[in-house]
Point group: C2
């Protein structure tokens, strides 16, 4: 840690002295608080996050789980993390379906010949190479489609154009994601030959937004895709145009993705080994895989970069924290294969030594709140974290964490989870689209997220906080 960094830590300590005295802190707590402030300020001065993200998205680009590029990204990350000085750097491979995008074309045939911008959903099936032509069954809400009886949409291309709500915490996406994730299977049950949704997007771009869809075991995947927002609105207008009344909607659709048997994906794991209790693990990370349309800058190169930078700042301290900080860069978040694979190779006994786990997977914007496991907000840990992140500004949420990120959820039966809430107001403008590229990232704003992550991680790793402890009554 550079001398200047400790000078900043000292001044932060003096500024916070009044509060610290009122709470009669132990000498250990004074040191923890000072170190957390110093790490936060070091992050704000310029962390390794942006160079990591710039080089990953420039030198590798897209990183679809199971693809050659995703393997290259894992090798790139191993070399990078070793060069940065991390310990126990290794790859954990696991099988994935190897879904790969093919041709993508859509055109209205009636009532007006018009090209539409469409992209396949991950895990979806394929049309024949020449495509399919079929009448359209149009629904303005997902509930309207679900209300149709089984078999009633036979031979139709089902389109659902329900718009998504913009919300800072991503709740608009959460509320509607089922339309993309389960809609294709629901449409197939009702007889559909293909399924298209309005992109889960808050932008007015013609670029469609992909994402995973899912079919129950034994159901053959039908072709499924996302239309851009303006294309969905165009279809809504055409269906409502009085001078075209009575002319049916018909569409020609080409979507030819394939599956690659035997494909695997790679999760990269690295440690900052704890100085006193190395078997106690604070797990943080992001995911290295991305959709193939953009270069995965905000989803989730940023999360990988932010947590790598936070771990690196801790690695560079003159003395390692008491516990181990484990960094995981997951290899198949987008299709939800990485988290289960990570949990499956760790026994319940091993997981019982994980102090806490949290994944950073919501873009490159600042963290504005941290939600901890039930009761932890009121512990000394919660108070120290609140003190450390207050200037960003960010708060410790009064409500407990509702999750911790897709890849750490499978640990949740045994491991407490935390949620570092990033500002997602504009996240879904570019999420899962070709627009997810480096130019959308502001390095200084991303470093504000690093500042919160490093404070959260350091305080958990160098204190004796126990997130499994029963909350004491107030």
């Amino acid at each position: 840690m550079p001398a200047k960094m400790f000078a900043l830590a000292a001044s932060a300590l003096i500024a916070g002295a009044g509060l610290a005295k009122a709470q009669a802190p132990t000498p250990d707590r004074v040191q923890l608080q000072a170190n957390a402030a110093a790490l936060r300020d070091q992050a704000l001065k310029g962390s390794p996050a942006y160079p990591f993200l710039r080089d990953l998205t420039t030198e590798i680009g897209e990183r679809l789980a199971g693809s050659q590029k995703e393997h290259l990204a894992a090798q790139w990350a191993v070399a990078r993390l070793k060069a940065m000085g991390f310990q126990n750097v290794h790859i954990e491979s696991f099988p994935v379906p190897g879904w790969t995008r093919g041709e993508e074309r859509a055109e209205l045939i009636s009532p007006s010949v018009q090209k539409l911008m469409v992209t396949s959903l991950g895990n979806a099936g394929a049309t024949p190479p020449e495509g399919i032509e079929a009448p359209v069954a149009l629904f303005h809400t997902y509930a309207d489609m679900l209300a149709q009886p089984v078999g009633s949409l036979s031979g139709k291309i089902v389109i659902v154009t329900q718009p998504m709500v913009r919300a800072q915490d991503g709740s608009g996406y959460g509320a509607l994601a089922v339309m993309r994730f389960l809609g294709a299977a629901e449409a197939e049950k009702r007889g559909a030959v293909a399924y298209l949704v309005r992109s889960l997007s808050t932008s007015d771009s013609r670029l469609p937004h992909t994402g995973a869809t899912d079919f129950p075991p034994g159901m053959a995947p039908i072709p499924a895709g996302a239309l851009s927002v303006p294309d969905a609105e165009q279809i809504d207008r055409l269906s409502a145009d009085p001078s075209l009344k009575g002319q049916p909607l018909r569409m020609h659709l080409v979507l030819t993705p394939t599956f690659k048997p035997g494909a695997t994906a790679d999760t990269v794991v690295a440690d900052v080994v704890g100085r006193e209790r190395p078997d106690e693990v604070v797990l943080i990370g992001g995911h290295l895989d991305s959709w193939d349309l953009g270069t995965g800058a905000i989803d989730d190169g940023a999360g990988a970069a932010i947590t790598t930078a936070a771990a690196k700042l801790i690695l560079d301290m003159p003395r390692a924290p008491r516990r181990t900080v484990r960094l995981a860069l997951f290899g198949a978040e987008e299709i939800n294969f990485a988290g289960p694979a990570f949990a499956a190779v760790r026994s319940a006994a091993e997981q019982s030594h994980y102090v806490i786990a949290a994944e950073c997977d919501f873009g490159a914007e600042p963290v504005y709140g941290v939600a901890l496991p039930t009761g932890a907000a009121k512990t000394p840990y919660g108070a120290m974290l609140a003190e450390a992140i207050a200037p960003l500004p960010a708060y410790v949420d009064r409500a407990p964490a509702r999750g911790g990120g897709e890849d750490v959820e499978p640990l949740s039966p045994h491991v407490p989870l935390a949620e570092l809430q990033q500002d997602g107001t504009h996240y879904f403008d570019i999420h899962h689209s070709a627009d997810d590229t480096l130019d959308k990232v502001d390095p200084h704003r991303m470093d504000k997220a690093v500042a919160a992550w490093v404070a959260f991680t350091y305080l958990a790793a160098d204190s004796d906080v126990d997130f499994r402890a029963k909350p004491s009554s107030p």
Copy 2:
């Protein structure tokens, strides 16, 4: 004209009475000023522009010059203008090259395999169906490329990544358009096998922006395209990445446009016949053709809609203006074939009866200034126009018009031109891209443009202004 409209006109007249008295206006001028104000206010209350634009872009969509859709658009416009009550509605057809977009794919092969988003430039040549693979010669400015000797870029795919400046009046586009319009031919002279430019765009979208390129007679067109802004920046970063130094840029490029011999395009012409001097013509219009990537909402459905709405407001007056208002919806502006064809079928003698000509072709945003022929700002016409558009707000420019729009330029040897300046600050975010769709247009802001156009047009048609008169000394 509804009674309410004249009530508004009367109040506008009272508000302007002080100024009018100071200038000792004639009774005729008082009436002209009142009518101009009434037409302006009628436009602001809701003009026919948005319904025209909505229906054109919804029912027809894209309208590439010489395509089936462009002919459909002309037929649509004829029916629409007749239904609106215009006189002498007819189509004027003329030959065009019939350039049609084909497949478009680009991929870096080295130093990193990466898909790039590219689109063909209009009039450009084609690669073989399987594409070409070649080394890249990268230039960060157009001048750097022009500085290369003839033959020195033999076998290369030439890429120029100079960024465009955002400017309210579009001057950033004017300064750099030569890079797209002439760059392919200049690269070919130097030996290039293909030419790619960074899109002439002020956006950070992955959607590339097309536009015409030109080759001198006798030169076979090479493949030429535009890269999206983020893709151009990615290539710049890859070429500068220290860990990739010495690894050459190589690219695989597929662009397969074709030409359709015998193609024609259609300009639609309609009149509001003058009550006293019908052979004296005030010519306004926009262009009905568009690029094929979007639905041509801002370029130039909006210009067609704004001028149609202005003419319709004049058509609906209880008494026609003295002179004829002629509306031209040009059929091939994007490749500059419509203006020469329109001028060619009108003799110099006929053109000498055109009072003035102006084309609306800069989006759907408000007009903030009107530039008139030299000296006209200081005439009674200039004063009346300034008074009519002041509340929008908009001014009469102290400087004379430098042009009047691509399609009316060929008239300029014989016809005075005017320039109604629209706010183009955000125009080049979506211009010539797939993002040029109706959702980008605000009806109320577009009606502010109609208000300026109707005042400009009406005052020229119902006064005796002579834009050819020598300006009197001040």
